[in-house]
Structures are given as C-alpha cells and as structure tokens.
Amino acid sequence: MAGKTLYDKLWDSHLVREDTSGTSLIYIDRQLIHEVTSPQAFEGLRLEGRKSWRQSANVAVPDHNIPTKDRHLGITDPVSNVQVDTLSENCADFGIKEFSMSDPNQGIVHVIGPEQGLTLPGMTIVCGDSHTSTHGALGALAFGIGTSEVEHVLATQCLIQKKSKNMLISVNGKLNIGVTAKDMILYIIGQIGTAGGTGFSIEFSGEAIQNLSMESRMTICNMAIEAGARSGMIAVDQVTIDYIKGRPFSPTANEWEKAVSSWKNLKSDSDAIFDKVIQIDASSINSMVTWGTSPEMVTEVSGTIPISDNRNSSTIDAALDYMGLTSGTAIKDIHLDKIFIGSCTNSRIEDLRLAANILKGQQIADSIKLALVVPGSGPVKKQAEEEGLDKIFIDSGFEWREPGCSMCLAMNADYLEPGERCASTSNRNFEGRQGQGGRTHLVSPIMAAAAAIEGHFTNVSKYLDN
C-alpha cells in the first residue's frame, strides 16, 4: 500500500466518521473568529438554543473593520462599530476568548494565531476567512469556511467535509537574490492559474520551500486560496519547531517533548502518491508584479503587459480596461499613487524588515500620495519599534499605523479613491477590492518599498545590500 501524504495524515487523524454518501465528519481543533463572518453564526446558535461545544477551541479577534489610526477615538463608522461590539458581546455570551481592539496582542487573525502559539502542527484549523490556508505553513490542515459552517463548528466541533485531492508543488533549487516568498507564490499562481488548485489540497515542498523561514512559509500558504486550493501546507521540520517554542499558548514544558515527537511525523511519506505534481525551478523566478484584476494576471517586473489571445480576450480586455493599462506597456512604466505594506500575506516582522532595509536613508517619490505600513499585530508593531523600523518608515515618508486588515480589503477608512493605483503587498487585485475603482498591483514588500522610492515599479536589485 502506498504511503500517505501530509494531507492524508491530517485528514485521517481527525476523521470522526465516514458516511456511505461520500461525506465525512472531521473534528476541528481550533476555530479562529473575526467580526465580519461570525455574527450570523452566533445568532443561529441563539435561535436554536445551542451552546459552544468546546469554548477553548475558539479564539476571536476583530481585524477587518477596525481603524489603523486614532484608536483612542474608537470606531467612528457606526455600522462597523456595531459589528465589532457584537463580536465582544458574542464572545462574552458564549465564553470565547477574545483579543479585543485594545488588547496589546490584537492583530490580523492569521498573524496572531501562529504568533500566540494558537496554531500548532497537526491541528485542524478553520476560520470564516479564505486566508485561513496561512496556518498550513505549520503542518496543519487549515481552510476557510462560510458562516453556516462557523456555526456548525461552534455547535458540534466538527465539519461535514469531502476529502480533497492531493497536489504537490515542489520548488527546486535556490531562489535568486531579492526574490521573496511572495514572488514565488505569485509565480506559481501565474503558472497554474487561480483555479489550478480547485478541488485540491496543495503541499509545498522542495529545497526552496525548506529554505524559507516560517513567516515566508506563511506567505506561501496564505495565497494557496488564490491558486484555488482551500488549504496549502508545508511539512514540519526544525524551522517549524523552533518557531513554536516558547510562544504563549505553545505546549507547556512537560508536554513539549511529546508534542515535538508527534509533530515529526507530519510530512508526506516518501512513497506517497499525489494526484498531481508540479515541479518548479526556483532560479526561474524573478520579482513579480500583477497587472490585471486576478492574481494569475502576473508577470516579471522586467516584462510587459501581455497581448490578449482569442480564448481569453474578453477577460484580459476587461481587466486592462479596469486597470487603465494597455497591452505592451512595460511594467516598469506603471506609475503609482499609493503604497500599502500590510495584510495577512505580508505584515509580519520579516516583511517589515525587508521593506525597511530598502527604505533606509531613502525618500518616497513626491508623486506618491500615501504610503502606509500596517503591522500585522500588536507584537509585530512593538518588535518593529524596538528595532527602529518605525523610524525608518516614517523618515522615508510612510505612515506607521495600528494593526489590522486595513487597505487589503478597505473595510475601514484606508482605501483607494476611484482610479488610484496602488502597489500592495496584499493578496487580491480584484476590481474594487481596495476601494471602488481602485487599481491594485500585488507585489512583495521589497518591490513595494522600491516602487515607493521611484514612484513606479523598478528593478529591486539596486536597493539590495551586497
């Protein structure tokens, strides 16, 4: 019998029962909750007189709606305010731990999970948010769900699921200098398309993945959903274990050794069979920039906007029309209005260090109307300030804000005006995503910083040390 993939192992170890109809009941270890996709779930529980099955499996944090400046004034948008208050009321009523807006550990749900040790290898993790795939970087099975499923997990600690197929994406060799995890995942999405992973769980492996830090691995898994896969994951190794050790909710000293020894099995067997295998040569990846309204519309910074062919002409034409761009334009000739460094994709300390390293002693271009850095969490912000990164950002012309989702989806006061063009370290360049009529180019933190200096996309190598 063939060996098991990492996904098979995680699935099998959480299988409560299998139905003859082809569905399974899967046990959920951790549910992360935020203010936007949970109120209707709690309301559903109330209407049926149901309770939370296991309170300590759940952790909540407001992140989507909250302001990134002048927090002492509270939330001025009354509709957002009701939603954030509702989260606190629901958490109090159902006995769920919440990192409230004023908590020093508050942050983006997908940043604080790993940071607090609430995300652990071998867990099943869900959240009413598609970027839950992020947590797979720690060898967990993590995926986004809808609000009905949030309610289902609250009430039963289980989900009705059908097993996905297995895909392996192996990135072999070494990355070029100045090429980041963000470039790698954008390149992969460009190769397989935004529906390439539909129906699959993707495991990322290979030398270039193993060489990544934990935070870079999170960037990769975060955008598995942009390749169509609900979950992305990476096998546990020493990098994973070192990252988890000593975090607030990591296993305590007397359980640590046992936990580590069980986590070491969280990798695909050498004879495991995948339904699909994709091999990628790391050295062929360069700095990437999206030019359209889907993350698969991406090319190298040295490239040009492609010319549409018959099959996809209407899609590309619609995207270019929205983006105000034309086929054949060089990516380096695209000029920007705003810069956003943040989001669950790229707001961790390493991301901020990468950007600050480029910005040190530099000024952003006069043509940039607004450049924002929004750290992923309170602890990330504090760490950055201890390292003096805030000063580098502020001195170069960036604004240094409080943690939250911010301009990734523009539910708060941070958004693009119609027609404004932004280099963003976030994950989606959909129409209207960062504000109605706003135009988003997805890039790495290095590219966002370099583009802020020049006012347009550029070759980042001139800004790198060495």
Binding site: D19, L25, S130, A155, S262, S314, A318, L409, R428
Partner: protein, 214 residues
C-alpha cells in the same frame, strides 16, 4: 436550510470568467450583522454608477444600463448563467445570501471556487456545472430568445427548456440529498454526539496540548 426540488426561471447571462465574491457583494455590505437585505447590493459596483453604502435606499441610485441585470429582459431572472471559477476569492457567505436575496436559486457555470460552491448548498441555492460547449450554447439561446426560461428538476438532475432541450447534470449524492431534504445539518451532526465525544476523548489523550484552556 431551504429545500430545493424544482425551479423555473428566466436566465440572466453574466459572460465573465473568475467572477469573485468581492464583485458579487462588495465589502462595505459585509458590515451587516444580518443574513438578509443584501439583494439590492448584489453586484453593486457593476450594477450602479455611484458608490453604494449599507442601509442606503437603492431605488433612486443611477443604474449602469450596460450591466446585464439592469436590462429589462433579464429583470426578475432566477437563474444565473456564467463562466468558469465563479465565486472565487473571499469565503464570505454574504455572496450566496446576496444571490438568494435577489432571487437567484440556480447558478449554471463551467466551474466554481470550492468555498463558494459549498456555501451555496447551505442556503438552498443549486450551483450546476456544465461543460464549456453546453454553456456556450446556453449563452447563444439566452441571447437569441428574450425571456428564455429553464426548468431545473433536481430529483431527475435535468434542465429543460420550453423547446424540449433537455440537459442532464451531475451532482454528488450527498449534496443532492441535503438540498432535497432541506435538512438542519447541525441537528444531523448532533445525532452523532456520542461518536464525536468518543473521538474527542481519544484525540485529547493522544494530544493533550491541543486542549489547553485559554
């Protein structure tokens, strides 16, 4: 969950690939803590020429007359015909809520994003997958015949038009049964409480660190 057996309705053609859930229901409407009231804001940025905000009366907003749902022949349609990877992006269940609130009970597409597909079934919406060739011919018929109407019979897994075109569609049995029965899934799962508790104890014994109190 709402039950689904048969549905007859006018088709509206949305000729795009990769329609994402941000387009289906833009983010500002996600601030609502209710499950209903999203119908007027379905495809808000495509449907109206101005910027919409939650709680706004939409009856006097300027319409984008080029958008398909604003064309008279497609008003009151109940079946949405579209292309591949429909519903990609955010997991927001507000997307199927908005489609349902508007009046769409059936979607016909080449393919769907996983989370959206799953969310449809939780809300009594039937998402049907058909091949590119059949989708192309449905687009042609819809454009050629004003008021083109289909009847969808989930039990028989057949789509039929008044001209006796009959198209068979595939659907997984458990999803079909759930829609036909309109079952309370949480109630169903709770009938397995003993099995879940037994699993939970075994799981806790093997991995006590997963059960730490917070």
């Amino acid at each position: 969950m709402d039950r689904f057996k048969t549905f007859t309705g006018v088709i509206a053609p949305l000729n795009r690939d990769n329609v994402d859930t941000d387009a289906i229901i833009p983010k500002q409407f996600l601030k609502s803590i209710n499950r209903s009231g999203f119908g007027d804001n379905l495809f808000d940025e495509w449907r109206y020429l101005d910027h919409g905000e939650p709680g706004q009366d939409c009856s006097n907003r300027p319409l984008n007359l080029d958008f398909v749902l604003n064309q008279k022949r497609y008003m009151n349609s109940g079946i949405l015909l579209t292309r591949s990877n429909f519903g990609c992006g955010s997991s927001r269940e507000h997307a199927p809520w908005a489609l349902d609130n508007y009046g769409f009970r059936v979607i016909i597409a080449e393919s769907y994003a996983d989370i959206f597909y799953n969310n449809c079934f939780k809300n009594g919406i039937l998402p049907i997958c058909l091949t590119e060739g059949i989708i192309n011919s449905l687009f042609e018929l819809t454009l050629a015949k004003p008021g083109y109407t289909l009847t969808v019979d989930l039990e028989a897994q057949i789509i039929a038009d008044p001209l006796d075109t009959r198209i068979y569609f595939e659907i997984e049995k458990f999803r079909k049964d759930a829609l036909l029965g309109g079952l309370d899934e949480i109630g169903q799962t709770l009938t397995h409480t003993d099995i879940i508790k037994k699993f939970e104890k075994k799981h806790r014994d093997a991995n006590p660190w997963l059960f730490r109190s917070l």
